[in-house]
Symmetry: C3
């Protein structure tokens, strides 16, 4: 795959990425999207969602600080995306940690088509059990890729399951990405920013399996370089914006991806 | 004009700048206001607006992530500002991009006096057409200053229209500011932070045409210096706070302003 | 006191610190909590508060951008904390500046047990007068420690009153902390981040008088070191995250605390 040509297309076309996301990360998510080369929009008012989502190249929904009003906006935005054939990435932050989050994730998945579901293993695993024969978390953990495949199959989408190793599956194709740095877990919103990056690739590449891998590599390689230039999580986050902005073709030589 | 004496007055008097702004930029807007020398307040609850706005030196309203509840707060805050004779700067983020934003901007302009209307050319131009003979966007773009003048005249206020060149007009007086750096477009909220800076000058200088120019110069010269010290948009934003905090009298020698 | 052993316990146990806080600082507060070694959660939906607060090691409530919906969440979260015996830190941002804030602070203090009340002198003093014989603010200012003691006594909790000198009192014991730097007043949310840090110590040390001192020292010593490495408030904030993350045992040699 020629990852760099897709990055160049983002920088040239500057697709609009509509975000409905949480209060904590809005600023960082907007900045990572711009640094990558795309254009973020953040808007949630029901009255204007059609005007704005219909112009977007992708819709990114993140339930990090959800409440009833925001849930309504998420459902409406997703349905508008469906109407205009705009791809959706869903980030079920905290699914499994509260009943509300697990149920809302389920409800969103049933309300409109989602192209990519991205979460950590706890979040993805929490969706495995719903309305199905629960295998129990322990057994599933021993086979993370297996779990990603089963969720991808259940919902008919591409799953990105992040962790020390990231798994990507659309059932037919599976990949492992081993880039990144533990420093990503020392800042808030590192998963949310990844969601913005993958959504940007999704806006210019129709194949969600490919755009997921491109997003993971671009973000995590930038993080590896940023980590080397930083003295802690403060400087790390700042350099992460710099590095994704300065991303060069040969950085992709650092890619550690396996197709399984 | 002696720009520096007004900056010194901000640093000495530390005027309260009441912000009703969007979720994405609240942190950066508060920090740029403090770095300049003024004091930000962010509060939107209807029950406390009178207690807080009445103490402010200026009110800054930004519709970036509006919804019905926030619109209500904006209207109420503006009317309180009118009652206490506090100058208002309105930042119609996204006007023209959705009908809601264009209408809300119009509604705010009709609900209370606005001293300064600050936006990019798309936003300002979207206000030209309302209830008027629309000239069409293309023709207007060829005469950006003309558009700024016509909006200033229509609403009886000072217009700041930002872009590669910034235009300031109160109909009688017109100016062009050519400072700044393209790096400002690589971070979110650069226009919103400018709004906080102009509002701070507006709080200590009664002439909105002058305070607009002072705000533009102080912010954009700081950005030029910050850009030279940065490796990308991450470090740029951080250095922008440093430079506005460290702003010295001779920085104004870099001013590129023309009175037309 | 062996401050460092408590910091190590935070880093090992990574207690969940549930935050109900203001929009302006959410990102910084989450990041300082992670940098210290604890785990932030930010959630306010009434439907999920019991699921989430019940897992927390501490609850931190900050009224910085309150409105009626958030007040409801604060009351509910506090009552859940009481049910599960989870310690609560209340940060009455702006109490005294608006009637709403003073009344809400009072209401929260009456609705559930608060272990630590942390504010600047204006905020703490505003609580002295309610329903009591008001001594008038001027006289009280001349005896800040006295005021802290009297509020601690009135509400039966530990008071942290921040300023050039910070006072800690649980009536029986009193302390002064003189660490910190004026640069902390040049960034927004410095008090809010301190609240997250003290809450993290409160989660692993049952004595709120001790955990208040530990939080103050860890945060303010980190700030002193960060200040030396910075060129202004932008770089200062970034280095503050780095320094609290890299905090070493011998940093506590810089502690300037007096037990009165």
């Amino acid at each position: 795959m020629d990852f760099y040509s897709d990055l160049k297309r983002i920088r040239e076309k500057r697709p609009l990425i509509h975000h409905i996301t949480n209060y904590v990360v809005m600023n960082d998510s907007a900045n990572i999207t711009i640094a990558l080369g795309a254009s973020p929009i953040m808007a949630h008012a029901l009255e204007e969602l059609e005007d704005l989502v219909s112009m977007a190249g992708a819709l990114y929904i993140n339930i990090g600080t959800l409440d009833e009003r925001w849930i309504e906006s998420m459902v409406k935005a997703g349905r508008i995306a469906e109407k205009y054939n705009i791809p959706v990435l869903l980030d079920p932050v905290g699914a499994g940690a509260s009943r509300l989050r697990t149920e809302v994730t389920q409800r969103l998945l049933e309300s409109f088509p989602v192209k990519i579901l991205k979460g950590n293993s706890g979040e993805i695993l929490s969706l495995k059990g719903i309305k199905g024969a629960t295998k129990g978390v322990e057994s599933a953990v021993s086979g993370e890729l297996e779990a990603a495949i089963s969720v991808a199959e259940k919902y008919g989408l591409t799953v990105v399951m992040t962790g020390k190793i990231d798994y990507v599956s659309d059932v037919k194709r599976n990949a492992e990405v081993e880039n990144g740095t533990p420093m990503l877990s020392k800042i808030t919103g590192s998963g949310c920013m990844l969601g913005s990056v993958i959504s940007s690739f999704m806006a210019i590449n129709d194949d969600p399996f490919i755009s997921s891998i491109e997003g993971l590599l671009t973000y995590e390689i930038s993080a590896e370089i940023a980590e080397k230039e930083s003295d802690g999580p403060g400087t790390f986050k700042i350099k992460l914006f710099d590095e994704i902005y300065n991303f060069k073709e040969d950085y992709y030589n650092m890619a550690r991806v396996k197709y399984l």
